[in-house]
């Protein structure tokens, strides 16, 4: 037998305490936020339970209860719920678990010690909780204090930064209360205003800047104070106490308090005086002529546009002038002298016309303009121009040399042209051109017809090159018939321009333009070639035909080299003999100039080409040239026939002139063709006077080549 039988199924003391710890742990669950899992909690409480069990057995409750309470609080079982549950679970079951243990036999003693234990744990818990609470509160207070101190320190740091920004800023900063009193300004702002900061503080804005506050700024400032706006920015000019001027770029902002009510106004100012001066200087330089100091074209254009839009602008006179022969002075005396003369002229112009709002500008080169927007009456419009012409009578002394220079002036009146600046300038240009053309040192007043002419000429001039390449030209043909037999002697080719917009344009309009623009040679070649080609076609269809084709040659063509070669090439290409080509020249073309055309004409005549004088008798009546030139025909201008229109009221004197011309021509061996014959009476009289041939509506109007072809066919059938 075993002398040491096993325990009789009663729980070991250890198991009993562990069971109690589980009950305790379950009771504490959820009462606190102790960082323990359930098994950890059980282990922790089992240890405490063991200590307390030992304390009850050994009667050391007083010492142990306190330690256990402290351990609980340290483990974060610091809530009243935790204490109550602990008390309950000990009161209910702790002694049950201890019974049967050695030294646990005296029920009364045990109960007394449990009472001690509960009292001791409660007291220790209360004490521990009080200490913990005090410590936590103290720590919290310290933390709060530290946080406040940190915030204060941060605030001071920020304030120090702001103070530095305020004091050392290059921009002016000022604060003004709602009554306009200056709370503070920084040194930069005070310096800008011409004060020391202490002279400004406490004074009102009005006292500092006086009444020079501009109306617009004041309005916006009031707006700011009354809440209409929170911010505005403006440029404002001020005068410092020492009289110097400054220009500020000023930003004003309303600062509001926490409740959103206006608190004070902050102003930030940048001194832009120098920047503005530089801008002004650049503006001035960009709008004035560096040589004469007069306003330049840019400023003039701006002024013109502005004055024209002002409702107060009445009648505006514009005098556009150009010095006569200035280029010669520049070329012969040098640019330095030319420049000095321009400066002197500028001064003279200013003296002559400077009054009121008149503007004198130099548009470039030797072109000047005077603008007067306060003209009353026609005389006033030309007033400046007349004054200038008179002022230029007095010679200039330039570089120790006496120079006289005149000017041509085009005067334009806005009442006649309208208020479009470009139209005014164009009109002035055209008018100046006419003043020059009419002879220099004079003024010309604007004439609307100039303008119309100029516009068409301009249109034609720009379209001419394209017209040649696009083949927009064509010819009409007008028969020339013998007055004795009515048979066809010749055909005059008349060039036309089928302009895409303007319709059919006659040679009177575009030949002068072609002459001016240098296209006359090409146009001339075209008509010569077209006419000869047509004549060649007629000749081919009618081998017996002997009539000539008559082509007009312009002045400009005669002046160009190569006319003779052109004619020869065209003749060769068309296959017609030289005798069947007649060139019509105007008197002015063959006169005036001396040898040039004469030689050319002789070469043409030598080749067999017929030469005729067109519009004979309308120009220069010098018949001597007829003897020097190889001419075979004169064509009487239609003007001569007007008195013959009815055939009834014949002016005897006129009749004598006409008869004399025809007789003279015949005497010189020239045939006579009359142009513009419209009435039978005219034809009859011409025939009676011995005129050889005629052309005009009486016989046939200018028309397409087919019309002449039919005439030829009719004539062929008759013969």
């Amino acid at each position: 037998m075993n002398a040491y039988p096993p325990p009789d199924g009663a729980p070991s003391p250890h198991d009993a305490v562990a069971r109690f710890a589980r009950r305790w742990a379950a009771a504490l669950g959820g009462t606190s936020d102790a960082p323990m899992s359930q098994p950890e909690l059980q282990a922790f409480l089992e240890e405490l339970s063991q200590k307390l069990a030992a304390a009850i057995r050994e009667d050391t409750v007083e010492a142990q209860a306190d330690a256990v309470a402290v351990a609980l609080i340290r483990a974060n079982f610091h809530t009243t719920a935790a204490l109550r549950r602990t008390m309950e679970v000990f009161a209910e079951g702790f002694l049950d678990e201890l019974r049967g243990e050695p030294g646990a036999d005296d029920e009364l003693k045990l109960r007394a010690r449990l009472g001690q234990l509960l009292g001791g744990v409660s007291a220790g818990f209360a004490q521990g909780l009080q200490e913990r609470t005090r410590a936590e509160q103290e720590r919290l207070q310290r933390a709060a204090l530290k946080a406040v101190r940190t915030a204060d320190r941060d605030r001071r740091t920020v304030e120090a930064r702001f103070r530095a920004v305020f004091a050392d800023a290059a921009v002016g900063i000022g604060m003004v209360d709602l009554t306009g009193r200056v709370l503070d300004v920084n040194a930069a702002f005070a310096r800008m205003l011409g004060f020391r900061p202490e002279e400004v503080r406490g004074r009102t804005v009005a006292e500092i800047i006086g009444s020079s506050a501009q109306a617009a700024t004041s309005t916006r400032y009031l707006d700011l104070l009354t809440g209409g706006r929170d911010h505005f920015r403006t440029e404002t000019a001020r005068v410092r106490p020492d009289g110097t001027r400054l220009i500020l770029d000023l930003s004003m902002s309303m600062v509001r308090d926490d409740d959103g009510n206006p608190d004070f106004v902050i102003g930030v100012a940048v001194d832009i005086t120098e920047r503005r001066q530089l801008q002004d200087q650049l503006w001035h330089e960009s709008r004035h002529d560096s040589l004469t100091g007069l306003p330049n074209r840019t400023l003039f254009a701006e002024e013109l546009a502005e004055r024209l839009t002002q409702p107060a602008c009445g009648r505006l006179g514009l005098s556009f002038l150009d010095l006569d022969g200035f280029k010669d002075i520049n070329d012969s005396l040098g640019h330095a002298v030319g420049d000095q003369l321009l400066v002197a002229v500028a001064r003279r112009l200013e003296e002559a016309v400077a009054q009121g709002d008149r503007l004198v500008a130099r548009l470039g080169g030797d072109e000047f303009v005077v603008l007067d927007d306060d003209c009353v009456g026609d005389a006033a419009v030309v007033g400046p121009a007349e004054a200038i012409l008179e002022a230029l009578q007095v010679p200039f002394i330039v570089g120790g040399r006496e120079l006289t220079i005149s000017a041509s002036i085009g005067v334009v009146d806005s009442r006649a042209v309208g208020t479009d600046p470009q139209a005014l300038m164009r009109a002035a240009d055209i008018t100046l051109y006419r003043a020059k053309a009419e002879g220099k040192s004079r003024l010309a007043r604007y004439d609307p017809r100039d303008s119309a002419r100029q516009i068409t000429q301009h249109t034609l001039a720009t379209a001419l090159p394209a017209a040649l390449t696009r083949d927009e030209f064509f010819c009409d043909y007008q028969p020339i018939v013998g007055l004795d037999d009515g048979r066809l002697r010749g055909v005059e080719a008349l060039i036309r321009w089928q302009h895409p917009q303007l319709g059919i344009v006659g040679p009177n309009q575009f030949i002068p333009v072609a002459e001016e623009t240098g296209h006359i040679a090409a146009v001339g070649r075209w008509v010569l070639s077209a006419a000869c080609r047509q004549a060649g076609r007629w000749a081919a269809q009618n081998p017996t035909l002997t009539c000539y084709i008559s082509v007009n040659v312009a002045v400009g063509q005669l002046r160009q080299p190569g006319l003779v070669d052109d004619v020869m090439q065209v003749l060769a290409a068309s296959g017609i003999p030289a005798e069947h080509l007649q060139l019509e020249l105007t008197e002015s073309a063959v006169l005036g100039d001396d040898r040039g055309p004469a030689d050319e004409l002789r070469r043409l005549a030598d080749a067999g080409v017929r030469l005729a004088i067109d519009d004979f008798g309308t120009g220069y009546a010098n018949l001597a040239y007829l003897t020097r030139l190889p001419v075979c025909q004169v064509k009487l201008a239609g003007e001569f026939l007007k008195p013959l229109r009815t055939g009834r009221s014949v002016d005897p004197k006129h009749d004598i002139v006409l008869a004399s011309i025809i007789a003279l021509a015949h005497d010189l061996g020239l045939s006579v063709t009359a142009e513009g014959v419209e009435h039978q009476a005219q034809a009859d009289r011409l025939r009676a006077l011995g005129c050889d041939a005629a052309q005009g509506w009486l016989f046939a109007r200018p028309g397409p080549a087919e019309q002449v072809g039919q005439l030829i066919a009719l004539q062929n059938r008759r013969s």
Binding site: D33, A34, P35, L140, R142, A143, A144, A147, V148
Partner: protein
């Protein structure tokens, strides 16, 4: 507020309840002032088991930190840490081998000052003042970058903090910014007040906070809270009621009474 420059000092106003101190009051702590206790008591008046919700949130913190330690994480950034009293992250990680470290971040200057005093002798924990609404500024904080090695895995803890950000504060953007800043293998842990189980209690508390506090509370739905884990792999059991997230044996697990959801996501 959104445009407040960081160099303008914030007011420290002890007259206004602070979420950090209210939370401490709910847990039975004494790191709080009368205003905080009054606010906590008023909220508890509306939802009597609010202290238990706070305790259950603390239990989640304990479990998730232990889980992360087991997963080998040794760096923690605890955002919205409040007052790190007993049983906080730094105590939970204190025994870890090898040693772990934690950065506490909070917006409340008093909480930060308190934590700094509390942790004066603790080498493995620091406290920074920071605003979750400006994650770039937070991530640029030199003290954070000195203390945390962002090339190594790190756990970012958003324990009961995201519901203090309104939708206008764009909390998802902040979470994403921090998610993108951490190395693969890192974790984001979130616990969040939710209207999922007890919409009425949630509405009462939200309304109370809106009227009584400077910091409103935004209770979010399960979907909204799950969306914070976009771009992360959710760790089992996913986004669940606070007591149901990996409970220890014997933990109270009354998920039906829960007012909060929790989850843990891993960056792949």
């Amino acid at each position: 507020m959104a445009n407040r420059p960081s160099w303008v000092p914030e007011d420290v106003d002890m007259e206004v309840p602070s979420p950090a101190r209210m939370y401490d009051a709910l847990l039975g702590g004494s790191h709080n002032f009368a205003v905080d206790r009054q606010a906590a008591a008023a909220a508890t008046g509306l939802v009597p088991d609010l202290p238990a919700v706070a305790v259950s949130n603390r239990a989640f913190l304990r479990r998730v930190v232990r889980h992360l330690l087991d997963a080998g994480i040794r760096q923690f950034v605890d955002i919205g840490a409040g007052i790190p009293t007993v049983a906080n992250t730094h105590e939970l990680i204190a025994e870890a081998q090898p040693a772990a470290r934690v950065v506490y971040v909070d917006i409340d200057p008093v909480a930060v000052a308190h934590a700094q005093a509390l942790l004066a002798g603790v080498p493995d924990a620091i406290t920074l003042r920071g605003d979750l609404r400006y994650p770039e500024a937070l991530l640029a904080e030199p003290a954070l970058r000195d203390f945390i090695d962002f090339t190594q895995p790190v756990a970012i803890l958003f324990i009961a903090v995201l519901h203090l950000l309104t939708d206008a504060d764009q909390p998802a953007k902040s979470v994403a910014a921090l998610r993108d800043a951490v190395a693969p293998g890192s974790y984001l842990a979130i616990s969040h007040l939710s209207s999922a189980r007890r919409p009425q209690a949630a509405a009462q508390l939200a309304d109370h906070a809106a009227r009584q506090s400077r910091v409103p509370i935004t209770f979010r739905s399960r979907e909204e809270i799950t969306a914070f884990f976009d771009g992360l792999a959710l760790v089992e059991p996913g986004v669940v009621e606070l007591p149901a997230w990996r409970p220890d044996a014997g933990d109270p697990a009354d998920a039906a009474r829960s007012l909060g959801l929790a989850g843990l996501g891993r960056r792949l």
